[in-house]
């Protein structure tokens, strides 16, 4: 009879005691007024708690706590964040695409600068050679001329620079800028003190605008000009005055008979 525990009393007060135990507890309570008072106390506490806070559960639920509305907002937010993600992807794609297509603009060096650089490069490489400085020697200058003329699809005579003290060593065919026929001819001249100059010739650039340029490049002097038929760069390491004289001779001989010749003469 007195095997009633505190937990059982509490469960009884909370109305959570299994039916099987309820009779025993009720019998116990009948004999123990203190225990009965305890039950009443617990129930009064419960009543007080419900009186205090119960009304909050009966209040009208504000709109912001409506599950359907919250679900719609969440879905909307999610859609919007997908939208942002998609927009970000599109923007990145546009940026990459624009960057890709803008490449030519970004490394747009003028064609002449590229040709001069190629000419100086070729000059540096081959003037240092002794046995293989040229592909075809000057002893076969007629063949050299017709061969290079055919390859460049133009008429290329070998300029005579004996007046400047230079004789032809020979020439070679080189790969060139795609914009200027993809091929280039290099002619090499040498003077008595074995100083060398090279002439780098390509067919005309698209447009074939006449141009004239003097550049000092990696320790070498380069005279560049272009007309409707060819571009030509004279490269050497001689003093500037001597280079100008050479370039003038080369220019006048290579442009002989060209329509636009008059513009640069003198």
């Amino acid at each position: 009879m007195s095997e009633i525990t505190r937990e059982q009393l509490m469960a009884y007060a909370d109305g959570q005691l299994p039916d099987s135990e309820r009779l025993a507890v009720e019998a116990h309570l009948a004999l123990n007024p203190d225990a009965a008072a305890e039950i009443v106390l617990i129930q009064r506490q419960t009543d007080a708690v419900r009186t205090l806070f119960g009304p909050a559960g009966a209040e009208t639920v504000p709109a912001r706590l409506k599950p359907r509305r919250l679900a719609a907002e969440l879905a909307h937010r999610r859609r919007r964040s997908w939208g942002w993600a998609a927009a970000a992807v599109v923007l990145v794609g546009l940026g990459l695409g624009a960057g890709w297509f803008a490449r030519p603009l970004l490394d747009a060096r003028p064609a002449s600068a590229m040709l001069i650089a190629d000419a100086v490069n070729a000059h540096t490489v081959y003037v240092a050679e002794n046995r293989h400085a040229v592909e075809v020697g000057s002893d076969d200058s007629e063949h050299l001329s017709s061969w290079l003329s055919n390859r460049l699809d133009t008429t290329l005579g070998m300029p005579d620079l004996t007046a400047e003290g230079f004789t032809l060593v020979g020439g070679r065919l080189l790969p060139g800028e795609p914009g200027a026929g993809g091929r280039a001819a290099q002619l090499m001249y040498e003077n008595a003190s074995q100083q060398r100059v090279t002439i780098y010739v390509t067919s005309a650039l698209p447009g074939g605008e006449p141009a004239y340029q003097f550049a000092s490049y990696d320790g070498a002097e380069a005279f560049y000009w272009a007309n409707a038929r060819i571009t030509c760069t004279v490269v050497g390491t001689l003093p500037e005055e001597q280079m100008k004289a050479l370039a003038g001779a080369v220019y006048s001989q290579l442009t002989e008979g060209d329509v636009a010749v008059g513009r640069y003469r003198g």
């Binding site: 505190r6 123990n32 506490q45 708690v49 706590l65 359907r68």
Partner: protein
């Protein structure tokens, strides 16, 4: 899905009531409930356990509340108890327990006792469901309840612990 939202909606009044009792602040309580609902709705399906929706919602609410308390403790923020509305009907009502005194007494309870007491006394949940919500064994729940009620009895000045003599 719509059925799920219906089930959630049916729980909202209880969640608000419980949150109000925990926080003693109507705005904080509703914020808590809103967070709880958003979390539940955004996680339905993938993360929802198979049990009853109500227990799951209460578990979420309790976790959010504990996190918020931890965060506010870290910030040193104080939730003002005096902002709590005094009960509209003072004293004299259920027995001789003064309601205001009871409200203050509940506030002084350790959180784990308060959580347990309110689940059972206020929400009228079965011990087992309350224990599941708090993820504790039912014995632990009952001992927390017992300690909470004993503390309330002392704090509200109700005499003695008469039934202790009856326990063997």
């Amino acid at each position: 899905m719509d059925q799920f939202l219906d089930q959630v909606e049916a729980c909202v009044p209880a969640l608000r009531r419980y949150a109000r009792a925990l926080t003693r602040n109507a705005d904080l309580a509703d914020d808590l409930v809103q967070d709880c609902l958003e979390r539940a709705i955004s996680r339905r399906g993938l993360f929802r356990p198979t049990g009853p929706v109500r227990a799951w919602l209460f578990t979420i609410l309790l976790n959010l509340h504990r996190n918020a308390l931890r965060a506010s403790h870290r910030r040193g923020e104080i939730v003002d108890i005096d902002t709590v509305p005094e009960p509209a009907v003072p004293a004299s009502q259920p027995g001789h327990v003064a309601l205001a005194e009871m409200a203050r007494a509940i506030d002084t309870l350790p959180l784990e006792q308060k959580e347990a007491l309110l689940l059972v006394a206020l929400e009228g949940l079965a011990y087992q469901e309350a224990a599941d919500i708090l993820t504790i064994p039912i014995g632990t729940l009952m001992s927390r309840l017992g300690r909470a009620r004993a503390a309330l009895r002392v704090l509200t000045g109700t005499p003695g612990e008469p039934y202790l003599r009856t326990v063997k």
